[in-house]
Symmetry: C2
Subunit: 295 residues, 2 copies
Amino acid sequence: MDERAALALLARELEFAGDDAAIIDGLVITTDMLHDRTDFPDGTTRYTAGWRAVGASLSDVAAMGAEATAAVAAYAAPEFDPEELLGFVRGARDVCERVDAKYVGGDLDGHDEFTVTTTAIGHTDDPVPRSGARAGDLVCVTGTLGRSAAALEFFERGDDAALDRANELFRFEPRVAAGRALAPHATAMMDSSDGLARSLHQLADASDCGFAIESDPVPIADALLEVAADDDVLERATTFGEDFELVVTLPESALEAVQAAIGVDLTVLGHATAADHGITLDGEPLADQGFTHGG
Amino acid sequence: MDERAALALLARELEFAGDDAAIIDGLVITTDMLHDRTDFPDGTTRYTAGWRAVGASLSDVAAMGAEATAAVAAYAAPEFDPEELLGFVRGARDVCERVDAKYVGGDLDGHDEFTVTTTAIGHTDDPVPRSGARAGDLVCVTGTLGRSAAALEFFERGDDAALDRANELFRFEPRVAAGRALAPHATAMMDSSDGLARSLHQLADASDCGFAIESDPVPIADALLEVAADDDVLERATTFGEDFELVVTLPESALEAVQAAIGVDLTVLGHATAADHGITLDGEPLADQGFTHGG
């Protein structure tokens, strides 16, 4: 049974909403496990790992349109090297500071493989679900896509300068403030951690709609343009994922107000359609293809 | 660097309170990672694993004197077997129900070793620290000690009846209601997850006091009496740990009111002393010996 089938099984058992985070009485909770083999390429510093792991959970809070309150992490490694441990904690603390949340510690554990589980807590009285997109809504994305895809190229190069660049690209800005600005207007929202294509499929499934988007406006990260072949850029930007941007639908009438308030680029990619349209890029079907976590 | 040294390093870096859980604006958060090699003996069912892992985090909430709100878990395994996964989730949900908390799901991840990280959330406006014990306070423990030590014996026997018994002993009752009843009177509190002896040392360190306890009243679990040699019972009950009972100090004047309200046995073991007395059992020094997690 693969991860997606297992998630579907659990959704039936637990009556999950299937959103980025669980909500109970306005309290937002989300947890993620990351580990060496699948999530941290060789050359990832522990500072970057702490930032990225905690950032991934904060991104789930952002995707609900919630404010972020606090985060904790369980840190497991074959040995506890003081410098690595402090690096991790400082990365975790710094990413929390960026979104006005507190990093309040966690647990240590001995483990054969470097493994971290992060949990973020937030609050909102008015969460944005994945299920509210309606035909005619605009579909937009924050920031740029392809940072993480580019980072992998730099990790593979492996020299010091490339590793610095890779680590910098891996430390993304969780879109908590953007999520707060979007929340009053957004009809559906999630983060792009599995890639734009898969995010659109997930929003379409939850909202019972389709999407028609264009390739021209897709905001590509400069770093990806730098490392990827021209004919490869768009696919990698739309399917690689792990960029932790927000994919959001909203009525066209709200666009101007949102863009004035959001504090980050918000790019209109196209619009939501009736479900029978399916999901298209430049009029062609866009496959449900992307990053499967924890594989 | 071992786990205790690493925790001390982090305490300096993060200015942790060093309590069982972090608190921010009345919100209680605690996270724990458990895994196959160190925490789940052969024969532990996934139902028991779910119960016990989530229960361990709920026990940390209880140790703050807080009410428990919700729990999440990240579940990682080499493969997702539907029966195992549902077993885990049902155990997690059932232990939450016991303490009026909601199990709200979590994350799935592929991993070489079965590994779970649980996070529990609670609330209290008046947390009980580890640092408030004063000379003259009574020191007490809830329930009985030695259930988990006994469970290990049954796991080792390995026949079906023994494994059933072991699993039952491993599914403990998180002392959330007891913690709530103790909170208005307790001067210091923590859970006994590292064993009674180590808990007393930790409370003494945090409170700058000593403890004089007697062996006679130590409440031994029937199951441990059944499996352990007479001359071994007391040491195992006081050092094995993993029983998730509450170790608490309170003024003698509060004892009667607490015992009427607590709904579980609360045994007086002795009293807190000045720090220079150290920690004694029947007048002899009690070593800081116990279970080190995640070793």
